[in-house]
Symmetry: C2
Subunit: 301 residues, 2 copies
């Protein structure tokens, strides 16, 4: 059987790029994988680990002759890559996709560079990660049973979208489609805000005296927070830089709600406090049950 | 060999009380376990599950003839229990301990009821929990490799403290001692604040439109938060009611720090944002490594 893509170029060999390479290899989806990364050590490790077949000295060189180009760099770095690979993007038969955490900014960057939104660009975002990162954390199963959100526009080529969807599905991922604007709003609420709160918590506690003791007694809730604050700082800087409007909107609501809880504690308003906790718990339990049941159903299919 | 305690009375058969019963049974530490809980169904289930040997119709009845009384009720309910078991507390040879999440309030309640701090009261707090609760979630291994903080005062009987420490150590728990005030400050920072932030996040998101979709895309950070917001609302109301000063102090610092991050995002101050994220990540990685190494060392002993 022919591989799904003959020659795949991966631009950016971090956790996601390297895991995608590992997964393409594992499921026999790529004939040849070539990678470019600004960090030569990552490329060397990727070769040694057998994740990629060859390396290139630039994004443009990597993408030449590829039928799939995957942009796996922080979102603020996307525009420079689009500029570099512009001659390749215009060619017949090349599909470009990305794995950026914010989607409108990627579409805007491509439009700015090319003067139009290219039909062969299928914007994507795997909702998967790890507290480890870099090429050495590559995991061929990172995407299995995780959501992949594709955000094509009307101009996006349907055949290109179909082939990207099939690639992720072959990795056992759960592919959904939505508007890029909707993606950015939903992710601001479910991912970007929680990460900001976690970074802020570690930062607040780190400024106290005996930080070591704090981490030592961290089982009671803090460990979950600190795990998500282990994420890559540059990736997250870019997320907040490029999705600031939806993030600020939900952050302001959150700060208002937190301020109300503060007031209940300060004034000893115990009934209201218990009501908020019970409402949160009920919402969480309700949706957890539905999602668990669906996951059980899906796994049994 | 004699069991560590001849007759143990457990007042409050929720997750912690029932897990303690299960663990006492498993490690052969109790000759007989009698329990009281305001909820008769919990007592019936505890009997059926073989966690306890008998039930009583009040805390006082349960504690009569016991050589260990464990108070496993929400912290605001402690004072009523002290009043009820007052005649028993004064007897020779009885040790009383508790598992409350806040320690000063428990010592204060006992002092108010008895007119002095009883020497046979050993205040304790197992840093262990679960998103499940109630007697049916009982887990005999809940405390293994978890911290148990004991907060005796100078008046506390050293022999009583030693026996409580030995009981927890026999369950493979890691027992430490500190001042009750220090406990309440550390826990406000590492447990109470994170729980408040998680409850607030679920509450904020639950008030948006399509909540189901939010929970569906929750892998990216939100799931960790929502897990800790599944905790018991009454227990947590009592924590914030009885530890408000340390909680408000750290909450105010947090809200200031979060406000600064908000300002960086709003003004596009990317360098400062990346610096905060990098500092948080470095602190987190540093302490995680030390704690992991120590855990590996301990498990290999």
């Amino acid at each position: 059987m022919e591989p799904h893509f003959r020659r795949v170029a991966i631009i950016g060999l971090g956790l996601i790029g390297a895991s995608l390479a590992a997964s393409l290899k594992r499921f026999g989806l790529a004939g040849h994988i070539v990678a470019f990364d600004g960090n030569g050590v990552s490329l060397k490790e990727g070769l040694e680990m057998g994740l990629i077949d060859s390396t290139a000295i630039s994004a443009r060189k990597a993408s030449q002759g590829a039928d799939l180009v995957v942009l796996a760099v922080p979102v603020l770095a996307m525009e420079a890559v689009f500029k570099d690979i512009k001659p390749v993007l215009d060619k017949e038969g090349v599909i470009v996709t990305d794995v950026g955490s914010v989607k409108c900014v990627v579409l805007d960057a491509a439009t700015r560079v090319l003067g139009r939104l290219p039909g062969n660009l299928v914007p994507g975002h795997p909702i998967a990660g790890s507290e480890r990162h870099g090429v050495t954390a590559a995991d061929p199963n990172l995407f299995a049973h995780h959501k992949i959100i594709l955000t094509p526009r009307l101009q996006t080529d349907g055949e290109a979208t179909r082939r990207i969807r099939e690639m992720w599905q072959a990795m056992d991922a759960d592919v959904v489609e939505m508007d890029p604007e909707h993606h950015d709003t939903i992710l601001a609420q479910t991912s970007h805000l929680p990460h900001l709160l976690a970074f802020a918590l570690i930062d607040t506690l780190s400024q106290l005296g005996d930080t070591f003791e704090l981490f030592e007694y961290a089982a009671g809730g803090f460990r979950d927070f600190s795990r998500i604050a282990a994420s890559d700082p540059i990736m997250w800087r870019d997320v907040f830089a490029t999705n600031s409007a939806p993030v600020l909107e939900i952050l302001d609501r959150y700060m208002d709600d937190l301020g109300r809880l503060r007031q209940m504690i300060a004034s000893g308003n115990l009934d209201d406090l218990a009501n908020v906790f019970a409402r949160s718990k009920a919402a969480r339990d309700h949706f957890s049950r539905i999602i668990e049941q669906r996951e059980i159903k899906r796994k049994s299919q």
